[in-house]
Symmetry: D3
Subunit: 215 residues, 6 copies
């Protein structure tokens, strides 16, 4: 495939040299974060520390946090819930939680979350196509039975929550998920059903740096 | 209507006297709160205080809190976000926020949230039929233009979040909602899209006392 | 639960004392029955007798009958079909027929029928939560296999009638329903698919007394 | 077009001569009318007279009547409502009522009603392609504004009855429909939403003669 | 059924005699073929020959070809693909390919393709009701297991292509379809998903002669 | 943003160093191109030349061509139609045609086409985020009125082709599209509705090189 990569690079260069007649679709994404005019409050000490940690670990503050920063109580509540769900100990790996985030966001066609958490899947898995698959159609991915059952549950819960019943939980248990794991799948799927809607309602824009991450 | 009420009371009594051949559909709802076996942790001091406040103010602890009580961090994060959204100062009245909660939960056909927040609408409005309308079809209610626009936004955001665009926000602004109000509509609608899914995923049961409240 | 009920009553009273700033959502439901200006004809002798019987048995004349009363032929045809379906001998109990009525009306989100027949389920079952479950999400109810299969058939027939096939009928037969029972399930489900649409098309309003019945 | 017709006739003959390797898809439609084993009752005098009238006017008894004939009360109620809706005086012409019947049945993909009432549209209009258009996609037909508005209302009422509101009725009034006409549109659309479901639930088969009628 | 046919003929005649107050719904279908003003190019020699062959074999040139005739390259590409798919050797019979065409077009409610290929099914099968069934609801047809599985695959692929997975292909293989047959089912279904959309986008009208063919 | 990029690179490297515990989701995509066992024919001279041209211009032969190569007639017909639609002169730019391809493929959640044509949008626009937007939710992109109208038409035509009417075409004309342009929008949208389904039906896998192109 060496030749193919060389060719692809030449193509990339050619396109880069071409005179751009349009601004990048992400031109203002790092400055105009939502469609709502809600100027940030001065960060509380806790949140200032958290932002600093983001900059240190990620290199930037995710735009969703800047969007919530107009109100420190809302920001703190969001951060507390997010970190508990995505980073605290769980029977689900961090990659599994990100996979749920992206598959749910694909069902809801949420631009912000697909870009931000698509990057998360690429980074945690070290496998860029896996991120694409989660964002495009998780059913086309070659997944383990465990991963597939987890995502089927999360996506059904997203699309038609009223149809979830005991047999859906039984299927997860049959594959080895504990009741706590089922809670976590539901809670992560639920959380992104919330975030997708806050992002879509406000036209939230992902940091442009995500597009290049872990490709 | 006096005669009609008398008649209705007689009918109620007749049905009450009739030998019941089946257990109530809510028979176990106060004891088996979800389909997951997740025993409660000992409450943290904060949460113990909060539960006490619920008992004092409501007469009971809402089952959703008992469901989250298997993990104090998750419970605290949920309570912090819920109280900020539903009780903190906002351009939306508490009744408006409950109306969003019920209209969203109706779109998602979530039994727990319809029962619990339907009671909330009945109580805050003092108008039981308003609670029924929110749960059954908010479009059939005689609402102010403001209320209707708010619910149309929340329900569209629930059903097809990918279709929300600037013109949807412009409609809200045109009726007098501020950007902060739009955030709050989105955040409340988003929150119940999360809660509906956690409740549906776990078969969460509403406290039986809700059924009789504010009728 | 005695304490909880006392608390709930206090809450009810508080809300009742609160100055109401809005008219009840049902304020005109007993006087403006539909959005169409179709004044009633003088009742035929048969229909006059039937209305009298309604007043005697129910305490009121259901608004749907008043809505049809602009034309005695249409009223008589409606009454004949309704009474045959809902009251005549059948392998389905009257409660089962009301359960179908409500589950179908929930699929179609019909305010009139959910209120009127939700009351019917509460009264015939003596179990208010059962009425709520039928109106909100019948899948969340603890039903017998027979009831569940009956409602699954009725709701599939409502949502996607073109998908009903021999295997759907076979499932009902396997649970003990006769061919006549299957007809009756289909006929009751069909009837409410009609009534839901007449009610929705005309903004038909349920008698306000239903809201308080059998709670 | 004379040459084209001659050619078409030759093609028809060729196909007719070809050895048929399969029974007609309608082979048993005149004998096995539904998938339910519900033998007919002896007809009541009224119904015997009505069947005779069908044979005289149509040349046959429509299978839907034979399907209901297992119970004379049900048959009589169905016939009374059908005849009132489709044949009694109305601001809607008989053709308009048949057009509603077919457009509704197309939304519900009901084989029985599309065949039987498609023939009705062909016969009443003298225009076979109009029948095809109603059954396939009424939006592709060249209709008057009145016809189009009528069918848009009927089909929206069929697909999403919960979305019908005052502005839908206002549109009909703006085109000249009276409140009574609106009732009739709703009632005919409602009736076929019922009949479609009874037919689909029972696999009701149309009389084979319909296929050749008014072509 | 002789008497029924005689009666049906009398009915046809009566309707034919009736003064028509409206032009046929197909009045302009043979002259105004699409809603786009795209005058035909002079046919290339190949295409002139192909048109002549259509006139000889069918008696007319199908309107879809006239629609593409504004550009000979596009016409030639369409004809090449169409003829390969529908007429070249395949494990699927020509009738089976036409059945797929109609069932797909019914899902997409495409007037042009339903009329043109409905006639195709009638002619190739010699069984007019089979054409009606494909256009109205293929699930109501008495099909072989092979035919049913083939159409289930084609219609699922049409409605929700993202849900097709290995188990769908396995079902076809289990019934005896080869991998090449599966390709052909997919390719024919895909082709009509394209043609349905070109026809719907341009309001393409079927040759009026199709309506009378093979009835 | 320099610091952010540096940080992102460090993150990428960390993930790359991490021991991979799973094979890449694209591990076999360049060798097992579809789920069907259809070995390639020897290429015809035309097709051999075309493959050579692909290798020269792109650096590889797109997998969709290898998938069709089991039958030279099918391959030639596909290539002829594809090249005419996507590369021949048109009022639509090549980028616009690729944007339609991706927006349609997003509606149909087609993995193959989203990957291959997402790369096409990135390359032709020189703007990677534009490719992401087309694949995730084109409504979130900052598009010209022309681009937006074009994609709205193409996606409505994809999702509900039966709803396209004169007013949809009029909207395009009002923005400056000619009738020929409308044909081209429809034809490109139609073509990808076909290709999406052939790809989904066969589990077609995109060349892995696409993932890295023009990032």
């Amino acid at each position: 495939m060496t030749e193919e990569i060389a060719m692809a690079k030449r193509n990339n260069k050619a396109a880069g040299d071409a005179k751009k007649t349009r601004a990048s679709a992400a031109a203002t994404d790092d400055t105009t974060i939502t469609a709502l005019n809600l100027p940030p409050q001065p960060p509380s000490p806790d949140m200032a520390e958290y932002f600093a940690k983001c900059r240190e670990k990620l290199g930037f503050v995710p735009n969703v946090l800047k969007a919530y920063a107009f109100d420190m109580s809302k920001l703190a509540a969001f951060v507390a819930m997010y970190n508990d769900l995505m980073l605290a100990p769980s029977g689900l790996s961090k990659l599994e939680r990100e996979m749920i985030a992206v598959a749910v966001s694909a069902q809801n066609r949420c631009y912000y979350c697909l870009v931000a958490h698509g990057a998360g899947v690429r980074q945690l898995s070290g496998d860029p196509p896996l991120g694409e698959l989660m964002a495009m159609n998780y059913r086309a991915a070659r997944l383990s039975r465990r991963e597939r059952a987890m995502l089927d549950f999360a996506v059904k819960l997203t699309a038609e929550p009223w149809l979830i019943e005991e047999e859906d939980r039984a299927r997860l248990r049959g594959i080895g998920f504990s009741d706590r794991d089922i809670w976590d799948i539901a809670a992560v799927a639920g959380f992104f059903n919330m975030s997708n809607r806050v992002a879509s309602a406000t036209d939230m824009r992902p940091n442009s740096v995500y597009h290049r991450q872990s490709r």
